[in-house]
Symmetry: C2
Subunit: 497 residues, 2 copies
């Protein structure tokens, strides 16, 4: 989920300073509109340590008219608060109609802290998130606007920021033992945060991920998002919500320079020599063959799912994988246009049909992700249908993995030049010519749209239980080895449990 | 929740036979419309044992055209099914577009059975219900119509039905040891069922409670409801859903003869002699005084909430209760029109404000139920606002009780004649005259509307954690004793824990 938010996105200071005056005056106008509309607005700012939550809240307090807003941060509960239900403190601070209130972490604080410090288990955590979702729903049904921002940093960057603070004698005091402890908890916190965000992001109270790498970028991005969303909601509540389904999980941060893309951040120069490939692949085939036999004995099923650009080598890698498997235990399901019977059912039905029996392997050559890739880009699916699909897919995959199925998702990535080279090669090789059709060129023309769709797909469906594996496949050998290794490692983890 | 469904509602055989032909032909027309609309329809029939689930499913199979429908009941999972995730069997049986499928208990079966037999705890049960809600949402988002019926019987009636089956040599074989075991589990099952229904009843996939006391009534009621809902949904999906909020918990069965009402089923002849009242009340005051002191030491808070007809004696009973309490620990909050500040917040905010501190007692003279009583009947609240309030109130009360607050809700009931007698008495007593205003007579004119609103309020907000206590108060002494006793017993239960 955080993939895009971990890219290094920067906004030059000059751009920031140019844009700031107009942003500030628009923020004031928006605040005025909120007052006129007589609607309470809640802005909740959360995120990882060191990502600049305090800095952003400070800016917003400076940019809005402070007379018509409040900011609330919560420390340990007071005696008064301890004697009432936990949400009492939030109810007592809610903004009246027409006012904006900023909550630093707000009602998410206790649940996140209790979970990371293991004071509560997963079941209790889920329950608290459900309580939070109910609180938000209650406020929204009454007309409130609730916007939630998650400021995210990669682990490396968090570390660097702390170092920077510590190196400067003026800011050293701000780095506490707790910060250093939190840095150690980064990976765990990320998983917990992801789960919290996923479970509480609704169309009406969406979370927005902010790439917090650069202070200028994160401040302007947040401010712009606040302006746009508030304006949209105030102008026409219904139309703003029409496109988004109430189950829609997350509005990922797309407000970044156009040239920054997840896929473009992948390296295209990774190669492996043929002799090394032959040696390594032989070992991996052996490991894979052994692992799948063992999994069969243990009744563990697996699903391998391949998506990728045309000519990215999906077919080739699938042939290599199946070469190592006992033919009785696997099935390859190539996904093309649905049959009549499939069309008469829910789009997930055709995938449910082919779920592997215990101990078996189903390989999907293209998959349910068609919904948010080709069906989205080619307008085969309505916007509300593909927008809804992200959470449907997450739920589906959660059900699979929680029932013990090993699920591995691969995106085979090549760059645009390499694709063209392969197209030409196919055209010039008689036994490969059948593989290339005018459709391939048409898809290629929509490369940028597909790139955006893939970015969003990975952001929204890379989960702690079913992450995407992005495979640099400009070099076929490198790509195949990475896929094989990922599969073998996944089996090893599961079988050793 | 089940209060109305436990009343003895009967439909004479002649009425049934008169109406049946037109119902049957309309069912066939509706089925035709479903096919033309190319929409899949799921009818799920569940309920307590002996309530006639099988009988209703049999009728529907006879009345619909069987060529265009399917019925699914699930026994122990097959080998095939055990090797896939639990929901796989449901996916494999889903109706294609244009067809109706009836599910006997369907996906609720395993969760209910596992919970009643203690194979899973409450947390896991909630999780399974959440999975079920997701499944239904996924189907509905794809265009499916999902209607769920719960056939309900009182414990007494369930017992009688079993006896009847057993007395008849032709049907004796149908009564198994399991049925007799289930009868013992009735009370537990009712609590579990209530929780399941509450958590999975949404605007889009509502549960409808069917009073199953009489076979003719339950068959026609279900058939009529199916016809009306399907027709409405097929004709104009949006308008049907517009009024109901997606959180709306339950559409209670209102399709019963108009003279059958929950409140009218209460006895009005219950009396207690003055001397007995004096003796019993003295004992109860003593118990109450002791209990509240003890509760104060244990830091247990309590909320007592009084609703009831005008002149039903709310004020009198509150004065008696507070007479037994230490003045430092209680507050009486009379609820009249909201202040400006209260109007600027969510309607629950004014009640949150007055929550008792640990060990204290807050008494609400009228309460948040105003939303679904006076505000509903007088049109002060929009229909979507009061319809939404049922679940908001349930959530609010769940939060209170789960945080250890003792919450007792009383409806003070008198009949219409007794009210008039009291009005006259007040008018004729100088120091009571201030209590009577033209408003009282105006409210009295809307008695029937209030009666319906109270019925619905009790059906929807009587929960396992905060049930309504209906107080027969035609005789003041009787009513007061019942209230005092209820409070004392509740304290005793809690303090002995």
């Amino acid at each position: 989920m955080f993939e895009v938010a971990e890219l290094k996105v920067r906004l030059p200071r000059s751009d920031y300073e140019n844009e700031l005056p107009s942003i500030r005056s628009t923020l004031l106008d928006t605040q005025q509109k909120v007052e006129e509309a007589n609607i309470p607005v809640i802005l909740l700012i959360a995120g990882v340590d060191g990502a600049g939550k305090g800095d952003l809240i400070g800016c917003l307090n400076e940019w809005f008219d402070p007379r018509y807003m409040q900011t609330h941060a919560f420390a340990e509960p007071s005696q008064d608060e301890r004697e009432r239900p936990p949400h009492w403190r939030y109810w007592m601070t809610l903004p009246p109609r027409g006012r904006i209130a900023i909550y630093a972490v707000g009602w998410y604080g206790p649940a996140l802290a209790d979970r990371i410090h293991k004071r509560i288990g997963n079941a209790k955590f889920d329950k608290e998130l459900a309580q939070i979702a109910k609180l938000e729903k209650t406020l929204i049904d009454d007309g409130a606007i609730v916007l939630k921002y998650w400021l995210h940093l990669s682990k490396k960057q968090q570390e660097k920021n702390l170092e920077k603070l510590q190196d400067n004698p003026e800011t050293r005091w701000r780095v506490t033992a707790i910060d250093r402890k939190h840095l150690k908890l980064y990976d765990k916190f990320k998983v917990i945060a992801e789960s919290a965000i996923r479970r509480t992001s609704t169309a009406e109270a969406p979370w927005t991920l902010i790439n917090a790498y650069d202070p200028h970028h994160r401040r302007l991005t947040a401010a712009r998002h606040i302006i746009n969303t508030l304006t949209g909601r105030l102008e026409n509540d219904a139309s703003q919500l029409a496109l988004v389904n109430s189950n829609r999980p997350i509005v990922p941060e797309r407000d970044i320079p156009a040239k920054i893309h997840l896929l473009r951040s992948l390296r295209t120069d990774l190669r492996i020599h043929k002799s090394a490939y032959q040696k390594q692949s032989a070992q991996l085939f052996f490991r894979l063959s052994l692992a799948t036999r063992q999994a069969r004995q243990q009744q563990r099923s697996a699903i391998l799912l391949f998506e990728g650009w045309d000519a990215s080598g999906k077919g080739g890698v699938i042939r290599r994988v199946t070469g190592a498997l006992d033919a009785r235990i696997y099935r390859v399901i190539p996904i093309a246009a649905p049959t009549d019977e499939e069309k008469a059912h829910h789009y997930l039905w055709r995938f449910w049909r082919h779920l592997p029996r215990a101990g078996n392997v189903t390989i999907y050559d293209r998959s349910w992700y068609g919904r948010v890739l080709v069906e989205r880009v080619e307008n085969f699916a309505q916007p509300d249908a593909w927008a809804r699909a992200y959470s449907e897919i997450n739920d589906f995959e959660e059900e699979l993995t929680h029932n013990g199925i090993i699920l591995l998702k691969f995106w085979m990535h090549i760059d645009k030049d390499e694709q063209l080279r392969r197209f030409k090669e196919r055209e010039n090789t008689s036994y490969k010519r059948y593989k290339i059709t005018p459709d391939d060129y048409r898809n290629r023309d929509k490369w940028d749209q597909y790139e955006m769709a893939v970015d969003e797909m990975v952001s929204r469906t890379s989960t702690e239980y079913a992450p995407w594996h992005l495979i640099e496949a400009n070099d076929k050998y490198y790509g195949r080895i990475k896929v094989l290794k990922t599969i073998c490692d996944a089996y090893a983890r599961v079988l050793s449990q």
